[in-house]
């Protein structure tokens, strides 16, 4: 894959297709949470390949870089695919170290991985950490942004709402959170166990600038992110990105058990590859 970012919409869509296929191949070869990664491919591509985030392998020691926190740490396949493709670490690390040997690339991201700012894996931590980072940046008059990707099921953690209150109280407009709103938790549809609907209203009532969109539409995502970056509002920002869990692989798509399903059997592997090639 191409290791440099090319920001035209056509290229971003093409890149999403590449990354989605890569996530599937990584899942086939090494395991991991395929469905949770497939739902946020376009979000990750928009963040890492458009001009939204100022993060690159060359500026990781630059204090003015933006910060990205992968709070839904179980979507590690897509993170590793993107980071290796962007050149944060060599591609061969995925074959050598992902869930192998010293697990330099573990089943959830560790801060020591190049390009990873914060260790995640237990959900509900990332936003609070971002609040601390963003508040420090604000105290020191720094201008960079803090992007945080969370899952919708993650929002059943009380700590998320503690952090939400804190962010709005401190007017942390330097936070742009994204909810990968795929409507499914680890074992069921979210609607079957939590009243977490009307997410946009909930976040607005907590003092956030909340916008909903199709989380697979790169054009919309990019436009919303850029508008949040340019905004003069003092509110923290959140994008409710409506997505399909397991997007692109028919037997994972919108499957309430998709979170724990792999792409393991010959028929599953064949079906997944054909799905991504558009073969019925």
């Amino acid at each position: 894959m191409n290791q440099s970012s090319n920001t035209s919409l056509e290229n971003l869509i093409s890149k999403s297709s590449e990354i989605r296929k890569d996530v599937v191949e990584i899942s086939i070869a090494h395991g991991g949470h395929a469905a949770a990664s497939l739902s946020c491919v376009e979000i990750m591509v928009t963040l890492y390949y458009s001009e939204v985030m100022n993060i690159s392998p060359n500026n990781m020691n630059d204090d003015s870089r933006d910060r990205y926190i992968h709070s839904k740490g179980h979507a590690e396949n897509v993170l590793y695919s993107v980071l290796s493709d962007r050149g944060f670490f060599p591609r061969e690390w995925i074959n050598k170290y992902y869930r192998k040997g010293d697990c330099r690339l573990g089943g959830h991201p560790d801060k020591d991985i190049p390009g990873v700012e914060v260790t995640t894996g237990s959900i509900g931590h990332g936003l609070g950490i971002a609040v601390g980072m963003a508040l420090s940046a604000k105290m020191d008059c720094k201008k960079h942004f803090h992007f945080v990707l969370m899952g919708d099921a993650e929002c059943t953690e009380g700590s998320v709402w503690e952090a939400a209150l804190s962010a709005s109280h401190h007017k942390l407009s330097n936070i742009i959170a994204i909810i990968d709103n795929n409507a499914i938790g680890a074992s069921d549809f979210l609607a079957n166990y939590s009243s977490l609907d009307k997410l946009e209203d909930k976040w607005k009532s907590f003092g956030w600038n909340a916008v909903s969109c199709d989380g697979h539409n790169i054009n919309d995502l990019e436009s919303i992110f850029k508008s949040m970056i340019k905004s003069k509002s003092s509110k923290p920002n959140i994008v409710i990105a409506n997505t399909i869990k397991g997007k692109g692989v028919s037997f994972l798509e919108n499957n309430p058990m998709g979170h724990v399903m792999g792409i393991n059997t010959e028929s599953e592997i064949s079906r997944a590859r054909k799905d991504l090639e558009g073969i019925t």
């Binding site: 260790t119 931590h125 609070g128 950490i129 601390g132 508040l135 940046a137 105290m139 700590s159 804190s166």
Partner: protein
Amino acid sequence: MLDISETRNLQMRDAFIFKLYEKVKHDKDIIIISNDYGAVSLDKFRNDFPNQYINAGVSEQNIISMAAGMAIAGKKVFVYSIASFIVTRCFEQIKIDICSQQLPVKIIAVGAGYAYSEDGPTHHACEDIAIMRTLDGMQIYSPSNAVMTSNLVDISLDTSMPMYIRMDKGIFSNFKEDINYDLGLDVDSLGNDLCIISTGTIHNVAIDLSRILFENGIKSTVVDIFRLKPLNTKLLSKILEDHTHVVTIEEHTLNGGLGSIVGDHILDNALNCALKRFGIIEGGIYVYGVREEVRKKQGLNALDMSISIVDWLK
């Protein structure tokens, strides 16, 4: 700046925060985050340095994550809370966000043991040592008086590791001037019939016990372990090698506290000491009562312990 004669008569938290106040004058990166918990010293701190004090409300999970984020950003963060709330309610955040990322966040916690005795089990911190010592990389200090507590400010600013400082509530003015803080423990010896080891303010009871035992012809060494982790294993072994009988005294459950730490050390090093542990036994945590009475029910007073020890040493 307060001198020792003023510091010794302060609450431990005030001794610590007033000392920290002096540091903040020259360091804009020092931050105190409180969970809506006050102190006389904190009023002065937040009045004079409002940008370096954050009342984050009663949101302990967020406080620890936020503290981690601020430490990642280069801030020197002190989290200030009642001990029982900040140890257990947000333990996973302490483990993952602070310890696994090896961030130098300092948790200054008030209310060791039964310090909030009348307030009951929700406010007791009788398991905190056991819990916090399981954390990889976490340093644990348990000072026995206000002067010692104020001297932990420099130590806490100098270390790049996470730290938990277990403070009592009340005035504990007895102190020694010649303590070597690098050692992590302090020793006073009248003789080698018995070694009495304590941590925290119950050290004062250990001193009383030593006096009573002396009157009964038993000469003891009194050890105040104010740094429980990392333990000064070398010095502790040297002390224990000179004793055949050891007692530990703690206002903490016997499940995993000071007695367990010393017991582990004796076992790990095959030391030839008999160990007797005084602390809170099963059934002693979910209780209310005036502190001295609650302690007495657990046998944590000098007279009762002396009777038990005299019998033990026969």
